[in-house]
């Protein structure tokens, strides 16, 4: 057993601490490696990967909102083969011990399966995050729809789980009338755990042109403004399922990370906060021990366990 009081063990994820950059907010790691040693992180959730290369949506793709932002990147990525040939080997060479969570996106069950199969065989990928909740892809908005309709979610997760060699965590959207139903379908399909939440859907307008600021019309809302929504939904899913949850949505401090664990998360993804402060993740990691002392938490693993026992009665 480890002496490390920040360590968290989850299926596929032997985390030295529970803090990991959220998908889409950290590229494939390389850029942030100029700022600090990525070995300090628990893991990295890399940018969404699809079967083929995608440019994504037209620009402008981001806008600011009070204590938040909108983005409509539209799953831009170089395609799974390029990610496997270039991005993951770079991480393996420079940070061989760092477990990577691959974010898999698709527009059909086949695509989820193809990408999951290929990427789950890469040595440093120790878990998959199945993105069934991106609000920014068109194709009849199928990207988001998959995460909204329990039957579609079930089929996509089943397809990915069947071929994946690593545990599959499924990323849930907050844009549903009842998150419990989707979570149940995802669990029934064989998911190992949940990551939640993805962005909310929103828009902003220019006063002068009366047009949306984001070229796509709408974008996904993230940042501290969505934190209370994330807490509420995480608690709801934690109450009904014993699968582990990697929580995210507006976390920007050690305080908000611990609060999300109280809501039911076992580990924490940090998204937008990386843009405000490139050192957000290591700062949160560094602050956790002090905060744990303040609240009498000896180690995070038992804290998480206690919180979850309380939630589930």
């Amino acid at each position: 057993m480890t002496e490390n009081r920040l360590a968290i063990q989850l299926p596929g994820l032997d985390l030295k601490n529970p803090i990991m950059p959220a998908s889409g907010c950290f590229g494939f790691g390389q850029e942030y490696a100029k700022y600090y040693d990525l070995n300090r992180l628990g893991s990295i959730m890399i940018k969404a990967t699809t079967a083929d290369a995608r440019f994504g949506n037209p620009t402008p793709r981001v806008a600011e909102t009070p204590s938040g932002m909108l983005n409509a990147i539209g799953l831009q990525n170089p395609g799974v083969d390029a990610v496997i040939a270039e991005k993951l080997p770079w991480l393996a060479t420079h940070f061989p011990e760092l477990p990577i969570i691959a974010n898999v996106a698709g527009f059909s069950n086949e695509e989820y399966a193809i990408v999951s199969k290929k990427i789950s065989r890469v040595k440093n990928v120790t878990a998959i995050e199945l993105n069934i909740s991106c609000p920014n892809v068109d194709h009849g908005n199928q990207g988001l729809l998959i995460g909204q309709v329990p039957e579609l979610a079930y089929a996509a997760v089943k397809a990915a789980v069947a071929v994946s060699e690593v545990p599959v965590y499924v990323k849930l959207t907050p844009s549903v009338s009842d998150i419990g139903t989707v979570a149940k379908a995802v669990e029934d399909a064989g998911a190992t755990g949940f990551t939640m939440i993805n962005t909310l859907v929103g828009t902003r307008y220019h006063l002068q042109t009366r047009q949306p600021i984001i070229a796509n019309g709408t974008g996904g809302m993230s940042g501290p403004a969505i934190f209370p929504v994330a807490l509420k939904l995480i608690r709801q899913v934690a109450q009904q399922s014993s699968l582990p949850i990697i929580g995210m949505g507006g976390v920007d401090s050690a305080e908000s990370a611990l609060e999300m664990m109280i809501a039911g998360a076992s580990a924490i993804g940090i998204g937008t906060a990386n843009f405000t402060d490139p050192f957000a993740c290591p700062k949160i990691i560094d602050n956790l021990p002090n905060l744990m002392d303040k609240y009498g938490i000896t180690d995070l693993a038992s804290f998480v366990k206690n919180c979850q026992e309380e939630i589930r009665g």
């Binding site: 100029k34 937008t272 906060a273 843009f275």
Partner: protein
């Protein structure tokens, strides 16, 4: 490599309607490698979570100071415009590639074209070229007389300076395209432009065949350092439509013809 620092505000003064000139001091200045790299500025207000990209207008490594010139477009830079000498500003930088000054300069001539709030990053470029003995022609366009900035700085760092305004309230009436039409563009060894998208398009259409023409692009950014894919531009001539370059770290300077404007 420092990349993030609380820089000291030496001064912050209003130089034209909504336009401010701020002098900053810090170690980051020592890392600047070329004119028109930028700083990614954090607005000191808890509800402003995206940084603001602002070009470095001038810099002096000896006293570790640099100048930024910014126009308040919205509530974020409005907060920055209220900051005082002695306070500090959280900046990431220097980011971006900066202008390529490697030439060659067989004719010893360069042309610099700026428009509006796109003129500040060209000051250091004009100075550096002039110092190396290159004759610099500068064409600047502004909306009207009250918006004219940096005339003294460019006058000191050029052999020829011409200013136009859209409404003719200062200099000739018209835009910089008009002035370009009077020049033999191929006689300049390098052409550099920064300004509004329309201006960049006008420059690009006149310099398509020039081997050393550069434009500075703008894009809405989140990370500012290549991780979020917010700021991409299409690669020119890419038939797949899938190829892109990131303005924040593969730009903001591109060769004319390299990207779709």
């Amino acid at each position: 490599m420092i990349l993030q620092e609380d820089m000291l505000i030496v001064s912050n003064i209003n130089i034209a309607p909504r336009v401010f000139r701020m002098v900053l001091k810090g170690e980051i200045v020592l890392d600047i490698t070329a004119p028109d790299q930028f700083l990614h500025i954090r607005v000191p207000s808890p509800d402003k979570i995206l940084r603001r990209p602002i070009s470095i207008s001038e810099y002096n490594k000896t006293d570790k100071s640099c100048v930024i010139i910014y126009r308040v477009e919205g509530p974020g830079l409005a907060v920055v415009s209220d900051m005082q000498a002695g306070q500090t500003l959280d900046v990431m930088g220097p980011l971006g590639n900066g202008f390529d000054m490697t030439g060659p300069f067989p004719n010893g001539k360069a042309l610099i074209i700026g428009g509006g709030i796109g003129t500040p990053p060209l000051v250091q470029l004009a100075k550096d070229l002039t110092v190396t003995g290159i004759a610099v022609t500068v064409l600047l366009g502004f909306a009207q007389q009250s918006a004219v900035i940096l005339e003294t700085e460019f006058a000191a760092a050029s052999s020829q300076l011409e200013i136009v305004t859209d409404d003719g309230s200062y200099g000739q009436k018209g835009n910089v395209g008009l002035l370009m039409d009077n020049l033999d563009l191929m006689s300049y060894d390098a052409i550099y432009a920064c300004g509004a998208q329309g201006m960049l398009k006008a420059v690009a259409s006149r310099t398509e065949t020039h081997p050393n023409a550069f434009i500075s692009m703008e894009a809405r950014m989140a990370c500012g350092m290549g991780a979020c894919y917010a700021c991409v531009v299409h690669v020119a001539g890419d038939e797949t439509g899938q190829k892109s370059l990131k303005v924040c770290d593969e730009g903001p300077i591109f060769r004319v013809g390299e990207v779709v404007i």
